[in-house]
Amino acid sequence: MAERRTDIGPPHYENFLPPVIKKNYGKWLDHDIPRPGVLVHTAESGDKVWSVRAATPRLASIVTLRMFADLADKYSDGYMRWTSRNNIEFLLTDESKVDPLIADLKKEGYPVGGTGASITNIVHTQGWVHCHSSASDASGVVKSIMDELFPYFESMDKLPARLRIAFACCLNMCGAVHCSDISVLAVHRHAPKIDHDAMSKVCEIPSTISSCPTGAIRSATVDGKPSVEVIEEQCMYCANCFSVCPAMSLNDPETDGISIWVGGKLSNARSKPMFSKLAIPYLPNNPPRWPEVVNAVKHLVEVYAKHARKFERMGEWIERIGWPKFFDLTGLEFTKYHIDDFTHAGETYNRSAHNKIFNS
C-alpha cells in the first residue's frame, strides 16, 4: 500500500487552465457582454474568450457533473469553472460554438444568464438538507424565489444595476446574508428547548451559560440534575448556546420562519460596502413554495426596479430617497423591531434635524 499522503493541499490551478487563459494570463484588455450570460474577454494579443455562464442549483448530483464534463469536452476543450456564486462557466475560443452550447444547456435544464444588471444565483446554505440549526429549508426557498425572478436572470435590461440575493437558514449566516441587496434569513423565535436529561452529559454547563450574549441562561437544578434555565424575555434567539451545547435546540415548527433584509452590498464601487437592513421581521415557513416570501422578494425587486436610477444599487437608492420613503413606496410596515436595540443601536438613531416630512 502506498504511503498515506496528507497536507498536499489542492491541485495546482494551472492544471485546469484552458490554453487561451494560460497564454493571456494577466494580459486581458477588456470585456463585453454580447448577450445575457455570455462574456467575451479580449486579450492584448487579440485573443478572445467567450464565457458562457449557466445557473446551477449548487446542490449537484454526479450525474449532472458528468453531463457538465461532457459539455466541456464538446465545447471548451474539456475545461470549465464555477463562479463565486455557484454558476458554472464554460470558456470557449470559438464563437460559433456559443449558441449550440447554450441550446444544450437549456435542454438539460441549466439556463444561461446572471451577468450585468441581472439577478444571478442566490448564495445559500444547507437548510433541512443537511444542517442541525436551520429555521427553514434553504434550497427550497431559493428555488421558489428564482423560479419567480427568472426573467431577471435571463435579462440585463430590467434593473438599474445588479441585484444580489442571499439566503441563510439561521443567524450563523453561512450565506453571508449580511451584505446583500436582498437577504432572506430564516429565524428562530422561540427560546431554546432544554433537554435536561442530555444537558449534563453532552454540555459543559459553565460554557453554555457564558455563551449567551444577553445573559439569558442561568444554572438550575432540574429533577435533581444540574442543568440550565433560560429567561425567555432576555432571549433573542441567536442560537449561540445551541452551537456550543446540543441540548439547547431552537428549532420549532410553529414559530420558525423567515425575515427579509435589504440594501446591503459587498463591492466598494461608488459607496462603501453596506450591511443589509431589516425590511420584514417575519414571514411564515410555508413549504414547498413559500409564497409569502416569494411575493415579498418579488415586490421589493419591482419597487426598486421602478424607482432607482441607473447604476444605483438597492442600498444606494434607499439612501438617496431615505428610509421613510422606502417604507412608503413598498407599503411595508415600520415596527419597533426595525429599530435596533443591540450594542451600537444608538448609532442608528437619526441624530439630526434632517427630515423629509412633506405635505404639499
Partner: protein
C-alpha cells in the same frame, strides 16, 4: 433496498425554469442514502422542522478539520442517511477544473458516498454531501490519490478562496489565484489542525469590486488596488461613450464618483488622482477607456465576519497598500504575529475582528508591530476617554 420514497411536496419543486435541487437528488435516488434523504426531507417539508442532530466528531486520521459529522434524529425511519457526513474538499484556486478530474471525483463519490455535492460551499470548498464514518479514510485516500486534499472546518484556517483574477479579468491588480494557492499551501498545517480560538478565513479579490465577498466574509481580505494614476484613453472615451454607449459620463460617472474627484467638460475627462479612493466605479462603467494604474498591489483588511456573536463586521483596512506579489513573506510574518497574539489572548469563539475591538486597535497594532495610520480608520476618536501612557512620554 427499501422502496422508492414518495415526495409529493418536494416534487412541486421540480417544476419551474430554475434548475431544481430536487431533480438533482432524484437523479441519484438509486443510492439508498439519497432515497432516505429524500424521505427525510419530505418529512421536514411536512413538519416544518429539520431532522438532523447536532454535530458529531468524526474525521480522518491526523486531521482535525474537513469533515462535518451529521446524524439524523429518525434513525428508525431513515436508517440509510442516519450517518450523513459532509466532506469539504479544497477546491483548486478560482474553481477551474477539467472534465477528466470532474469524472474522477464523480467516480470516487459514487463509490464512497451519496453522489450529491455542493459545487461549491459558501466558503469555497467542493462539498461532498453525505457519507458514512467508515468511508472516511478510504475516501480520503482516494482523494489524495488524485491530488485533492480536504479543506478546513472548526477553529482552523478555512479553505481560502479567490476571484478568477488574472485568469480572465482585466482589472486584477495582483495574481489572486497564485497568491491564494500559495497561501493555502503555506498554511497546510494550520488548515488541517485546528488550534485557534475560532475560525480564520482568507479571501482574495483582485480589485475593489470584491467578487469573492472578501470584505464581508473573511477574517483576512486581500483586495487589489493601485497607487498611481488611473489610465485614461481619451480617444477610446470619445469613440465608445460620447454620443452613444448608453452612458451619460457626467451623470453616471462623474456624479457618482464617491470622492468627487472627476471632472468632465464634454471632451476631456480629468481625475484628481490624489483624491481617488480606487472604488472602481469609473473603470467599471467606462471599461473601454479607463484602466487601473500601473503601480498595483493590494490592501489587507482584517476582521470581516457574520453576526455571531457581537454582530456582523466588515473587514477594515490594516495595510492600505502592499506590493503583495513580492511581499508574501512579510504577509506571513504579520499573519503569524496576529495568530500568536490572538492565540494567546483570544477567547474561545472570538473571531479576530471581535478580538481587536475588545483589546483596542491601537493596542493591537502595538502588539503586532504595525504603525498606526489614518487610513485604518474612518475618523479619529470623538470621545475623550484616552488611556494615556505617561511612561512612554516622560
Amino acid at each position: 433496498m427499501t422502496e422508492k420514497r414518495q415526495t409529493p411536496k418536494l416534487d412541486e419543486l421540480t417544476k419551474g425554469p430554475w434548475p431544481s435541487f430536487v431533480t438533482e437528488m432524484k437523479k441519484v435516488q438509486d443510492n439508498p442514502m439519497v432515497n432516505d434523504l429524500l424521505g427525510q426531507l419530505e418529512r421536514s417539508y411536512n413538519e416544518k422542522i429539520g431532522h438532523w442532530k447536532h454535530g458529531g466528531i468524526v474525521g480522518v486520521m491526523g486531521y482535525g478539520g474537513g469533515v462535518i459529522g451529521r446524524y439524523n434524529d429518525l434513525p428508525d425511519d431513515f436508517p440509510e442517511c442516519n450517518e450523513f457526513h459532509t466532506i469539504r474538499v479544497n477546491q483548486p484556486a478560482g474553481w477551474f477544473y477539467d472534465s477528466k478530474t470532474i469524472r474522477k471525483i464523480c467516480d470516487i463519490w459514487e463509490k464512497r458516498g451519496s453522489g450529491l455535492t455542493n459545487f461549491h460551499g459558501s466558503t469555497g470548498d467542493m462539498v461532498l454531501l453525505g457519507t458514512r464514518t467508515k468511508e472516511l479514510e478510504p475516501l480520503f485516500s482516494d482523494l489524495t490519490s488524485i491530488d485533492f486534499d480536504l479543506g478546513g472546518s472548526g477553529s482552523d484556517v478555512r479553505t481560502p478562496s479567490c476571484c478568477n483574477g488574472k485568469a480572465r479579468c482585466e482589472w486584477a491588480c495582483y495574481d489572486t489565484m497564485k497568491i491564494c494557492h500559495e497561501v493555502t499551501m503555506h498554511f497546510q498545517d494550520e488548515l488541517h489542525r485546528p488550534a485557534f480560538p475560532y475560525k480564520w478565513k482568507f479571501k482574495f479579490s483582485g480589485c475593489a469590486n470584491d467578487c469573492v465577498a472578501s470584505i464581508a466574509r473573511s477574517d483576512c481580505a486581500v483586495i487589489g488596488t493601485w497607487k498611481d494614476e488611473i489610465k485614461i484613453d481619451q480617444k477610446a472615451l470619445q469613440e465608445h461613450y460620447v454620443n452613444g454607449g448608453g452612458v451619460d459620463i457626467a451623470r453616471d460617472v462623474v456624479n457618482r464618483c464617491p470622492s468627487r474627484c472627476m471632472s468632465w467638460d464634454g471632451t476631456k475627462l480629468e481625475i484628481a488622482n490624489e483624491d481617488c479612493v480606487k472604488c472602481m466605479h469609473c473603470i467599471n462603467v467606462l471599461h473601454k477607456a479607463l484602466r487601473p494604474g500601473d503601480e498595483r498591489g493590494a490592501a489587507i483588511l482584517i476582521g470581516g465576519k457574520a453576526p455571531i456573536i457581537g454582530g456582523a463586521l466588515l473587514a477594515f483596512t490594516l495595510i492600505p497598500f502592499i506590493d503583495i506579489e513580492n511581499s508574501l513573506e512579510d504577509i506571513y510574518e504579520v499573519v503569524e504575529e496576529i495568530w500568536d497574539l490572538w492565540g494567546e489572548y483570544g477567547k474561545n469563539r472570538e473571531r479576530i475582528g471581535e478580538f481587536i475591538q475588545r483589546i483596542g486597535l491601537g493596542n493591537f497594532l502595538e502588539q503586532v508591530g504595525l504603525e498606526p495610520a489614518p487610513e485604518m480608520i474612518s475618523h479619529p476618536r470623538t470621545n475623550p476617554y484616552i488611556f494615556f501612557e505617561l511612561d512612554g512620554e516622560e
